[in-house]
Symmetry: C2
Subunit: 493 residues, 2 copies
């Protein structure tokens, strides 16, 4: 056994022991732990922002905002646990006089077991060591083993230390949270393959996500992998709206496309529209905006190289014409905004045009008519988001198109932009394959907790030994489904 | 293309078209359709029971009960849809004055797409053509293609005709429901591999379920397979209870073990207990009961052969002793109850002892002490159910054991038996691998509907175009999570 393997074995052993222990803890204790972690992250001083700036090239304002978002995730998921939303508690009382007698059946969501979390490069706080996957797995009652992202190791360590202080202050066992560094893919594979691990959360590239899905499917006991793998997030320009506001839309669109040097999984990298004077105007304004856009440093040199390579591959495809590139030449490691166009006819026969170009790149699909728009929409792969820039009249006119688009995405947006993923109960951040490996779960918002749970029913179980959320008296005061009606009342039996 | 493939292509094309159409229908129309199907099944005369008796060897009373259960599934799932439970509707209203402005986000569950359903041999009504998988996929808004079970083709056709009449009477498109017969595994594989299919429901053997999981994972677009693959459903005899009522428990247990010739996925095929006088008494009484049990015809000759072969394999393992077999010799095609014993030491080193023997067979694990009971529990594979025959004093004494058992099963039972799976909201029929391929979803009870849905968020979407469950006015009058509180109120914006 290598030192890595020995350490992994011992880490996972401790996680398994912690799993047993923390599942004897009350909901209130778990909630207090999550709030303690939020407090510890909040207390991290300028060192956190400075370290992350150095490691990720992200600007201070963005990082400050992301820190707030990360804290909010821990607190709002704690609130969801406290309110019982992640438990889906349900009670069907007995009916002993029925033939056959109806037993008492009660159901709650329990933790799956130790979870492995793989963070993303582009959100060093909110989707990394202390990010949403970690917060939601902890909220579910799962110990977490984070594989630190190599792009921001010191940032990750600061966050890991904050969580560890939260663990200690809340009286949770050490194995509740571990932070490991993997040097090779084989080491990451050993983590996901280990029988102790019962679920995986991942945010990153298509290639990375699919590799984890494959490892998990080859285990003796397959486990769920919740991989959020990015997307090109089509934007549909519908005629009435486009006619009314082509230049304004182009400016707004350019802002969303170049935000954060395009380094978002919700970056709107595909525009689909009918040809005509309005689209020409949109394109003209967009061209001006792109030419003016200043290149900016990307997360790291590998990402900058990847941006150029994947952009080259797309613009090298048949029928693709580069419309505009930032006028200022990009220094090494910088990303320069680029927009290209292609006809719907070429788009429909070439899947390479749907490859994610991670950075400020967009491809505009020019359709000769509404039918080609519908065909292009039908051809689009599964997406995290789809955006309609439209009037209500457009929507009324395009019901078939809207239905096709809804089937392709996890979030559908009206006259707004997909960048900026609100952390709330109603957010779905996920979508049909290949945007995620499991379209049934979100990775943002309190429902993300449910990824790390499974239902467990109790039949005729004595009240004193039921989990608190299922006890007759409803000591948590939560909403429960009792005999098919939602209620906060105690159950009288 | 073979005739099968041509027909399949046309069937799936119609299913895809139906998917588009039925998703423009109202919830009320879907509910009415489900109730029409229930009525059609209810109206099926004695021919249904007679046909099923002939094809399955199941007795009339059992089939009459199963018919009622099947109708209840359609009606109770329709009610769950009507009440919005399967939609999980959620609304976060906008806050335009926040920095950055908070958009309006609303979420509901939408249908995954056309679903393939593979029925089981042992429930020709409730888990076959018109069974729970079909009812829940339809409830989700998915067209269904059922692969008819070859064990009861005429029964399946009667049920398929009833559903088809429901489709016609409710104004649903023909492609909403299709019923196909596959001659070979390759034909079934072609169904699951087809890009139109977006989910699979299956009830049956471990081998069959895993084969479907593998096919699905090799698709270009992987899809979820909800395979309920059976289980040996351990029964733990805890000391205080066993001492108080050994003979009585043995009689009850024998009744559950031999019910329906043991042909249930919840058949309690494993007993785990400490040795001693009380266990000896339990064994003595069980032996008497088993010897007296009359062999009965199994579902078909293949199942009877399979029972004998799998039983032979288990009783041929090192350390296994046959305790009792029915005294009356089993005719061809009959199943004779059999109980064997083995030491915990032998059990712990031999996974073959955990193979499902589909029929009235049980293996009793004799443990020398409480620690061996705990070790045996830890060794047990994932199960649909686990049963504790215990006093509350036993439970208080065995908290560590109870925690281990909870982690192994989908339903934990106190002084009751696992056979008889109540159709209700709180039922979880599923469990950790290998009892099911996805421990996060149930195949019985209204929550089974959610297997065939995925969340979809709407951002700033105009009220008039929102699905009815998300409209401001709440026209369905359902419970919704509005700004983090459950409510039936209209939303004022």
């Amino acid at each position: 056994m290598s030192i890595f393997q020995e350490n992994l074995e011992s880490t996972l052993q401790k996680a398994q022991e912690a799993f047993v222990t923390i599942n004897t803890f009350s909901i209130a204790k778990r909630v207090a732990f999550m709030r303690a972690v939020a407090d510890e992250i909040e207390a991290l001083g300028p060192e956190l922002i400075d370290t992350a700036r150095r490691e990720s090239n992200l600007p201070e304002a963005r990082l400050t905002g992301e820190k707030g978002r990360t804290i909010f995730q821990w607190r709002s998921y704690a609130e969801a646990v406290e309110k019982g939303y992640s438990l889906d508690a349900s009670i069907d009382t007995a009916n002993p006089t029925r033939t056959p007698p109806k037993p008492d059946i009660r159901k709650t969501n329990v933790a799956l077991g130790p979870a492995a979390v793989f963070g993303a490069s582009n959100f060093p706080f909110a989707f990394s060591t202390a990010g949403g996957d970690t917060a939601s797995a902890i909220a579910a009652g799962c110990p977490v083993i984070v594989k630190a992202h190599p792009g921001h190791p010191e940032t990750s360590q600061l966050m890991a230390d904050a969580i560890t202080r939260g663990v200690e202050k809340s009286g949770f066992p050490k194995g509740t949270f571990s932070h490991i560094f993997c040097e090779t893919n084989e080491e990451a594979q050993a983590l996901v393959s280990h029988p102790v691990i019962k679920a995986v959360g991942f945010t990153g590239s298509n290639r990375g996500g699919l590799a984890l899905v494959e490892i998990a499917s080859k285990r003796h006991e397959p486990i769920p992998v919740f991989a959020e793998m990015g997307s090109i997030n089509p934007v549909f320009l519908l005629p009435e709206k486009l006619n009314a506001a082509a230049s304004e839309l182009a400016k707004q669109y350019a802002g969303s496309l170049t935000l954060g040097v395009g380094q978002f999984c919700t970056n709107p990298g595909l525009v689909i529209s009918e040809e005509g004077a309005a689209l020409d105007q949109f394109i003209d304004t967009l061209e001006e905006e792109i030419v003016k856009a200043l290149p900016a440093p990307m997360l790291n040199s590998g990402i900058a190289k990847g941006y150029k390579l994947s952009r080259e591959k797309v613009v090298g495809q048949a029928g693709v014409n580069v419309l505009a590139t930032a006028a200022t030449q990009a220094e090494d490691g910088f990303g320069d905004a680029t927009v290209a166009t292609v006809s719907a006819v070429d788009f429909l026969i070439n899947d390479t045009l749907q490859a994610e170009v991670f950075g400020p790149f967009a491809l505009i699909i020019k359709c000769r008519n509404a039918d080609e728009v519908l065909q292009a929409a039908s051809k689009v792969h599964g997406q995290l988001t789809a955006t309609l820039l439209a009037t209500t009249g457009d929507i009324a006119q395009c019901q078939e198109l809207v239905a096709v688009i809804q089937n392709k995405c996890g979030r559908i947006i009206f006259n707004n932009f997909p960048t900026g993923v609100e952390v709330c109960k109603s957010m779905h951040h996920g979508g049909p394959f290949p945007s995620s490996s499991n379209s049934q779960y979100t990775s943002v918002g309190a429902d993300a907790i449910k990824r790390f749970t499974r239902p467990l029913s109790f039949q005729n179980w004595p009240d004193e030994f039921l989990p608190e959320e299922l006890k007759n008296a409803n000591p948590l005061g939560i909403w429960r489904n009792v005999d098919n009606e939602l209620s906060k009342e105690a159950v009288s039996v």
